[in-house]
Symmetry: C2
Subunit: 278 residues, 2 copies
């Protein structure tokens, strides 16, 4: 299919697996006319314990794949890849690319009153101190403390989001954070919004939770407006929303099942591709 | 280095990550004169939630890499890869290849008195029913029940092997197994021997735990004897054991740290390679 108008081209969204679906969901909600091509790297998930070199190589392969789908912009819907690979791939590719970290960092900076922010994420994201760097570049007065929570992703993927075990793991990881005087907590991994209500219950109403997925969708909207690429109407008269297609590097059925439990619309098909070929 | 005598060539051992070190450890203990080249696919771990096609592709790449190190035999020190890829790679490569499943299945079959065996492992291993097939091929009277325990691997990797949380997760996964009348339980994932004492405590003394790692080392010994490839003396007079070298696809330092907490000898260096090139 030849696309005549740049506005009609889809947005490319990618993640290490299913976590980025929380970002895709926000884009569906905030930008209902846009079409989305989603790629989940389910064969090589998780990214959170991998090195920068590896994450850059993976991101590069995925962007090359998304470009074959004629996307007009790319959203790295993964905190680890945003933290470790965004700068590198922006230099290599001409297409506009946005990550989830900068929108989350900005929202937290605007939200905090006492200038004390906490960040939770994967080992790689927390170790990179990317949120701290971005926040302090704008306001060096703000203190930012991080905590890696490696078990949150497997717990979510195992369907334990509201399980007693998860509440206990939250207590192990977040008790110091709760005792500290932060007033804002960034959910710095795209799986974590799926634990939002359990974390909210544990941390109490006084701490503001920042969900970078929502902020990213809003940033994407601004970007598309600026570049005059925002789509005004859905793809066709029969649909109230854009077209959504899903690609994974492994286990397409399991992905589809998970996606259908998260997204506002049911996924009909998910295609498996060999990402190492790109 | 040109190796003159086949006996002097190393054993290739591979796993999705650190779990296979429990197998390497048994080979070091039972076959101290043998040298080992270990590969841990830390960039693509875990294998347990991936598909057969993907696991076969990964195993093929790793065997090609190990062959460049002039190994005389290969041990697939990963239950998932043994379950899904052993038959396929045996057809493709001439070198003797053994997995961990057949030795574990045989030991359990010999151990059970009431002919009721339980198996715990990753999703992929349990879904494959490979232990059941191998056991019932020899004795159709034996019943074999399986349970996937997806959180055990991340709990071990997080260093929570003896943590209260792990005991609770064991209760969630294994309470049915404990209430059933099995007399033998196969630890069907190479990470699980690291949970052995916690599982033992939970299951009680009456249930026999089978560790396929130990059985695999004994099978390897028999194979090397049959093929007249067993090494009689260590590699040189200065050492009491063979030479051990370690390769990974990502995060070499983290691997080394974990390995040194498990193995009887300290690892000095771990090299990172790009496995996708093989």
């Amino acid at each position: 299919m030849k696309i005549e108008n740049k506005k009609d081209m889809p947005i490319g969204v990618f993640d290490s697996g299913v976590g980025g679906l929380t970002v895709a969901r926000e884009i569906m909600r905030q930008l209902p006319n846009e079409s989305i091509v989603y790629f989940g790297d389910t064969a090589r998930v998780p990214y959170g314990s991998k090195s920068e070199t590896t994450i850059i190589r993976y991101s590069r392969q995925i962007i090359r794949f998304l470009l074959t789908k004629e996307v007009k912009a790319i959203v790295i819907a993964c905190n680890t890849a945003s933290a470790l690979a965004l700068d590198a791939v922006r230099k290599e590719f001409k297409i506009p690319i946005i990550g989830v970290v900068a929108p989350g960092a900005r929202a937290a900076r605007e939200e905090t009153i006492n200038k004390k922010i906490g960040v939770i994420g994967t080992e790689a994201t927390v170790k990179s101190e990317i949120y701290k760097k971005l926040i302090q570049a704008e306001d060096p007065q703000i203190s930012v403390s991080g905590r890696a929570c490696p078990l949150f992703v497997p717990l979510v993927e195992e369907g334990f989001a509201k399980h007693k075990i998860t509440r206990e793991v939250i207590d192990i990881y977040l008790s110091d954070m709760r005792e500290s005087d932060i007033d804002t907590l960034i959910l710095g991994c795209t799986h974590y919004p799926l634990l939002r209500s359990t974390i909210r219950e544990y941390m109490g109403e006084k701490i503001h939770l920042v969900n970078p997925a929502y902020e990213t969708a809003m940033d994407l909207k601004r970007l598309l407006e600026e570049e005059e690429m925002l789509r005004d109407t859905p793809v066709n008269d029969q649909e109230e929303h854009g077209e959504y297609s899903f690609y994974v590097s492994d286990a397409a059925d399991k992905f589809k099942q998970f996606a259908n439990s998260i997204l506002p619309y049911d996924i009909e098909t998910t295609k498996q591709i060999n990402i190492e070929e790109y």
